[in-house]
Assembly symmetry: D2
Homo-oligomer: 145 residues x 4
């Protein structure tokens, strides 16, 4: 949507922060795309991250969508800022049965303090991409102390 | 709130389903309370489940709140039914810095098809309990095939 | 997104139902577009529908977005069904200062029982269209008794 | 929940702001309770504010819940501040068939910039109070320019 980064080092900032999210490592998540106003994060299906029917737990889908929304906001933040999710809402549209998933987050509105982003999560399988979840998140930017 | 279980075996049903959620095991989560219309799930802080500042990742907090809401609905479902989250929304009220957290979910409204539950997540620390997150979730009940 | 109506009379059904929503009339709202999976509803700014600063009240923006989501679901429902909003979430992105607004709703996922739709609300003013709000809604379809 | 107002004139500030919300007047809404961290607003059923089945439109229920959440935040704001809703989510739990409704909002967490409130909306009828909707809202406080 034609977003412009205020911090020329936005990609390094996002990649360095992502590398400190140990939970992303625990889930096997990978940061795939870092452009101004847009982030993509993938995660594999793992049997040890399932819900009661053997599908990927909604918490895993939600976790990569949340991180994707947060980092999409961080791509547009000034240097020296960090971001925190204020809140998010997610609709779970289909069972998460694919072997791999991607959360693609896009900034809808970047304000001085608050940024709103949407993430769509797709299952990546033999049938191609299938939308499994849709998130909207409000993110706050704060100067790093 | 005076909820009554329709399935006398609700506790066994919930505990058996929870034991199949491998992701709860991966997070170190424990099912603490199973009463009609109410569930409590706890999770410890673990360094490998952190976000970029070393706090527990919002995805972990969300995962136990989501499971707690789903199981609070399952306590009130007829025998032979399973539940799935349709959607949820969570507000993250404070950084998740406590050594342990509890998500307490209560059914607000149990309908034939849809149940709405709220979960409050508290940090359990030296200062006592502190509210760190608040979720509302819509859950659908379906006959097990 | 390539949605197909199951009821060939979907447009008449939607228009007839909209005409019974007296609140839409009270707001001055108009049903502008009725295609399978998509609805547009407009509303004018009126001084008697304002919040404390003289902007259009968020409740007005929300009301047309809610009706648009519901009717986008109804365009895809079988004959003899009605729809009801189960829940929705809206982010208010900019003050509603334009002279006129349009809510455009699109179905994200149409299921047997539940349909999920998103509505974007734009201010229509001298500067063109400006996104002022973004909703996600879950809608339930039920046979008319 | 033991909230304390920072502005001793909080009640006058809230009542004056409410009186400028012309939309509340248009709906017939009344500000019933103004205490630190808590607001109650009532609205009557009116045939001209209905949805397609003759129930009160969800937009009306949402509007009083939104104003109640916003003003619950304003009761705790410093002097010279105004509030705006950032986002809200509402679950519609029962058809709004009562002759009168009350939205009761309580602040969950009051921060420097953001406040999170919950509003429960009850139908007030011959059977007593019945919960018809539950909202969570994020509100931002800003100095009045």
């Amino acid at each position: 949507m034609g977003h412009q980064a205020r911090n020329p080092d936005f990609e390094a900032v996002v990649r360095e922060s992502f590398s400190r999210q140990t939970f992303m490592t625990a889930l096997g998540a990978t940061l795939e795309e870092v452009v101004p106003g847009r982030i993509a994060i993938t995660v594999p299906f793992r049997a040890e991250h399932a819900q009661q029917n053997g599908f990927l737990h909604a918490g895993v889908i939600t976790s990569i969508a949340d991180s994707a929304c947060g980092y999409s906001a961080l791509t547009l933040a000034p240097a020296g800022y960090d971001v925190l999710a204020v809140e998010f809402k997610i609709n779970l549209l289909r069972p998460a049965t694919a072997p791999r998933f991607v959360a693609r987050a896009d900034v809808l509105r970047a304000g001085r303090t608050l940024t709103v982003a949407r993430a769509d999560v797709y299952g990546l399988g033999p049938r191609g991409e299938e939308l499994v979840a849709a998130m909207t998140s409000t993110v706050i930017a704060r100067p790093i102390r």
